[in-house]
Symmetry: C5
Subunit: 376 residues, 5 copies
């Protein structure tokens, strides 16, 4: 699974993986593609077979040998260009759509091909512990009796669907392949909620750090990172909604009225996911406000300490400096200057001065207390 | 009633209550669901019966025994999966819609089923003393002679409707079940206004705290909390408007022209509620501006005090420090240095110096007064 | 005229005046409603009669007695529920619309009733000296030969229309009642401009206070108040535009092509009013920027004074402190410490020191001048 | 040409010039209207006549005497209500449209009258040296063989069109009057670019002042003024685009397919102008960010100076104050207190102290240098 | 290639190059236009010829001599107005479109001419090392057997297309000219990704400077510059999407269903490019937040140093000042004032005082440490 938390990287990724200016429809296998594994589920209302096929020929033999059953051909890993070409040929896949499959950066979409074949792209997401959104592409082709799925990784979030096929009773086995495609799409959508819940938890954690702890510059960087993630997540979910809306607008021959009821449910989920991303954006922008205000508050606190200390001691220092002056009582000529600092010679000079200092300090403390600078 | 003030929690809630990847349409009863209570209003233009049924069978017997009357089947609490299944079966409810009912997080919507049955979801709100918006789901199915309502709590805001049925003359008794559904929807909408009034009062209170009191960091957190509440409230009300707009677009066979007049009134209310949330958002963003500016103002005030005190006393301290120097009039070699601080020996040295200090202080005070720093 | 400057109050007002959960269409007269006054203008192309009717019966007698003339029934004050019921009955007013009339918080709208009767709501505004926008509702019903207008106050802004009817030649007398409705709507729209002009003047005044005077915290509160007013004003005007747009879309049988030319002119005015509110919002947000920047500027100024004074005198204080030290030239043992502060004994010690202090001060002043801190 | 830089004034202007509540369609001549001058261009594919007519009668004689030619009747100045009435009568102008002409504050629009006559309003702009956008209204009526233009000023930006008519070969002379209307509209649009270029230059100039010079509070006021100008300019250009879009949607009988090619070009220009205003808004909002940051930077600088000076000298002052204390070595009782400040009696006391002070200063300078506070 | 990083310049450029008020459709060659070079690719499914033609006549001879082949006439440089006129005449180009070609500032668009000829404008971009977006116009006319391309520079990004024609097998050679136009458009779109990747890298670099280095005022200017670039880039890409959307809406006779599949792929790319610019805008606005917060942080740090130093030493200075006072133990009259600073005569006076000072310092350090001001 390719990790792409920094949305800025998407452009680079796309620029490279596409081969700028290459002939449209050229099959370019990414260098790090895994060797493909081929899985086949063959099922009908009565039961199912499951196998990991060792070769394309074995796969096609099983697929073609049971034309009355429905099949889920589950391809994981792209690292075999020849194999991909054979899929294109045997299943009549359009070169540009195959290019989309392998490019692995296609936003969610649906395309209806001439022969009623549907091409569906979904994006599976995960929120990693590094605060990144991993996303992975799931590409589906649905025909009259098959669903052909491609993804670039061996692990995925589709196991619940596999279990449902394996379980005794399952609607999937009783309905057309499009229902399987719906089930897969729905699972992908369902997996958005844990991703969002993780983001939500993380936002709350950051809020607590600001309110209770000591935020620093790195914290803002993390807030902005989560903001980027949310924007990116929205970019992933939004086309999902559009995709399903387009499915709902398709003629009933392609997507039956009965299937539309199910997709309408998907549509609801997609909208709710989008609603949540909007809320998260608001929350993050509130976080930024809170952070900025906290910075300002801390500056306020620093300034208050400085002001209180300075305001108290600077006047005191002046007073004591005053009586450190050396004005002379005795004239060099022998006379007396009785006006030159007689306080210094008074028997109570020093105690009275200390009293004055105390009064000044007390006055200031009262002033600051009334301003509310001492509490808080 | 589930309290869900933090919108971030919605994703978690949804992720859990839905069972990620579960088979669509599976009935999952939340763990904390209350045991259901069944209430039945049976009415026609001439009168009504009301009872709390002890069992589903009693309910259905009464319901089926009076096919010419209209019925409001009022189910509160979901904690009985078997009961829910029987409702699904006997009233032909779609599994996905039943899932929406039980999930309790469905945004407002309306769906028209094949047999003319309408499925309506509303969200009832309350603003709690903990500054949180409680919301609760009201799900309605309307058939030709019944309204079937589901909610997960025993208490609700629908008692005014019950009173109107009980009262002598009521339009509800004279009109089709859809009118009852309208009356319930309208009550839910009406309850948005007290919620909003509470939010509005709270905003005003916060504004007063900023203008008159001493805001602190917690205050901003509260402002941002109320902002989140408003965003969340908007997310609740917006689909309500869409729901009613969709009802208004429905064919006249489903929603008669006469009923549309009533729903148009609901639509007006929903729009006014949305308008108000917009105003509140503006108000809250103004509050944040005000808070930030107040922070800045308080910093200004602190700095002014520091500046005034420092600017007055630091120069004075210099002057008194000057005359604390020990330059010697008498040379160790016995000569006289008449230029070394003759002021100290002048008979009026000290009084003149005090006068100079006074002049400096007065000058500075005049300067600060003219700057407007002494008055505030 | 009800004064409702704080938009937050709208929710409260609505919550109360509506009676949450009351039966829709119930006539609730506000407690402070004035006793109704009934005015009647009866006119045709040749002349007009005008009277203040003492009773509903007198009014109806005059109205019904002249079926060939057109009538403007001008009801001011709602304080008589029985009267309102009779109007409903005799003019076929829909209960929900009557509720809108009495609620007095209905946004501008138009509704076409079954019998071609139009229901028009406008909101009349005034900008009071308390920086508040007073708004008042004008509700109109137009039939084939009458305009029935309701408002809750005796004073209004419609006197120019009354004068035009009274004046010799007037289009109103020659055209259908809808033209009178247009004239009334147009007068209401025209009154938006003085309101906006007052807001605009006030914004300019605030801007001047910031640029020339001494803004304080209250000023920001006033700016934010005017921002709220503008948002609220926009909320009043926006539906006005929608109302007229809907009139323009109505079939020609209801609103003739000829009348649409006039309403198109209204539409232009409504758009220009909206344009202006947008400009005002920009202006107010600029004001906030300006205020914030001014706060920052004033802090800068305070800091500069502090920095200049401190930077000049703190080093000086150090120097004079240095020569206030008591290092002794004469050893207690009788020897001489010639390195201990020989400056103090130099005949020119003091004058040279004063010179040094002067140089330091000059240097700093030059430095600050070059930084541009002395000039502002 | 009326100068109206402050958008706030628009409301006042409109409130006054319209006569609040006046009968719609009343001709009100502004008090400062210039006496009209009447110009006539009569042309066909073979040549043209040009004259300044001394009276309306002369104008109409020339106009009616050459029905086979096309005419541009160019009226400048409105100060003659009787003349305006005669134009209304003779050319069948709608009173409301004439009111728009004279009001001189109509946003750009197009109206199609019953007889195929088009009424077009454009706004001509100029960016004055007082940072204001002057705008002036150009009103056009086009008939089958004439273009009738009104403006309130003698000077305008249409001379290039006049020159093109006068020049030997011109498409204007060969095409219907609508082409002349197009040419005039296009010239007005072309004049938006110099206005915008002037705004762009001014924005760049302001940016340079911030980056290189010493911004002050007035500068922000100028930035906000230019922001207002841009908002206002956008308000002028936006309806221009809508006007042309409406022309493009008109039936081919009114605006031929051939003419639409030309108007499509105008449409492109209007969109590009709008694009530019958007860019300018971004630029101005960047300017504000830059200004705010610069304020903050300057505060930082001030604070750094204060901190460096204070941090260096305050500790030094303490040290020298320490040795200014008067602890006595000799007891009044005649004994010796050897612990009381023996440093003062040490032969190297003073030089060592000076060394210590030097070390403190150096240490601090190194510390500040490492923090990067000395460079910058 | 014209470099136009400052979007403000666009208006100036447009104002000049267009000749304000010039006759629409006038061919104005920019002064700095390069002399044209004419290249011709003639191809069919079996092969191709390529030549740089020395004259227009040679070009046309080759073009007309092979009517059964398809041709790409590739004109680089506009500096020959006569040549441009001949192209207009021979290929039936509309004067206004030719004006768009030469103006070199036309936003992307497509126009369908009467004879099925398509006029397509694209904008090629490059992000230079001076942080500027270079953009260049590519204008295409496609006819039944030719693509006629114009650009004002000899160098471009289309070489990959040329190579594909030269290569053995190429779809271009097998398909109609519109496919070549598609290939050229696609290459231009593909080149947006490296531009965006460069912008993305630069944003990340700026973020690192803020987080790790020492940002200064110039840095903000660079951030705002990149913001302008992104806005400008968006202005370039947005019409590209609209252009392709319009192509997709064209009737199948003009753009075949088969070609639409290809353009739909282009459309996807354009949307993804727009998505990315949105992300970048968010990133840049986050950068500004980060920068502002960093400024504030640095101020905080400066203030903390000042506060710590001042708060420690100012009280100390007061204490030592206190004992620098000259209160006299001995009365001039010969008596003793035992209350006047007896501390000075105590044998342990000085050591105890030093101890007190140490205690004060320690206490303050503990206080600041607990506040977290010493650690950062």
């Amino acid at each position: 699974m390719r990790s792409t938390s920094v949305s800025d990287r998407d452009a680079t990724r796309q620029a490279h993986s596409q081969g700028v200016g290459a002939r449209p429809g050229t099959l370019i296998i990414p260098d790090d593609a895994l060797p493909p594994k081929l899985f086949l589920f063959s099922y009908d209302a009565n039961g199912f077979d499951e196998c990991e096929c060792s070769s394309y020929d074995e796969l096609m033999q099983r697929f073609r040998g049971q034309p009355e059953r429905r099949h889920w051909i589950d391809v994981r890993g792209y690292g075999d260009v020849e194999l991909m070409r054979r899929f294109m040929q045997d299943f009549g896949l359009h070169p540009l759509q195959m290019e989309d499959v392998l490019g692995d950066y296609q936003r969610a979409k649906v395309e209806l091909n001439d022969d009623g074949q549907l091409f569906l792209v979904s994006r599976m997401t995960e929120f990693t512990s590094q605060l990144e959104i991993d996303d992975d592409q799931l590409s589906l082709f649905t025909g009259s009796n098959y669903v052909l799925s491609f993804q670039d990784d061996y692990e995925d979030c589709l196991d619940t669907v596999r279990q449902r096929i394996r379980s005794g009773y399952s609607q999937i086995k009783q309905r057309p392949p499009l229902y399987l495609a719906y089930a897969l799409t729905d699972v992908v959508l369902d997996h958005y909620y844990p991703t969002m819940a993780a983001i939500g938890d993380y936002i709350e954690e950051l809020e607590n750090v600001i309110l209770r702890g000591r935020p620093n510059k790195r914290l803002l960087a993390r807030i902005l990172q989560i903001k980027k993630d949310i924007v990116r997540f929205r970019r992933l979910v939004y086309p999902e909604r559009e995709k399903i809306a387009e499915l709902l607008r398709m003629p009933d021959e392609v997507v039956s009225e009965e299937m539309k009821v199910f997709f309408r449910d998907c549509y609801d989920h997609a909208i709710q996911a989008l609603d949540l991303t909007e809320s998260y954006r608001e929350s993050v922008s509130s976080l930024i406000d809170l952070y900025m205000s906290d910075q300002s508050n801390r500056m306020n606190e620093v300034m208050k300490v400085l002001t209180i200390i300075s305001s108290i001691f600077i006047p005191l220092s002046f007073v004591v400096g005053l009586y450190g002056m050396n004005f002379q009582r005795e004239n060099p000529q022998g006379g007396i200057n009785p006006l030159n600092m007689p306080e210094l010679y008074h028997p109570l000079g020093y105690p009275v001065l200390l009293g004055v200092l105390l009064v000044i300090v007390t006055g200031q403390l009262v002033y600051f207390y009334k301003k509310g600078w001492l509490t808080n």
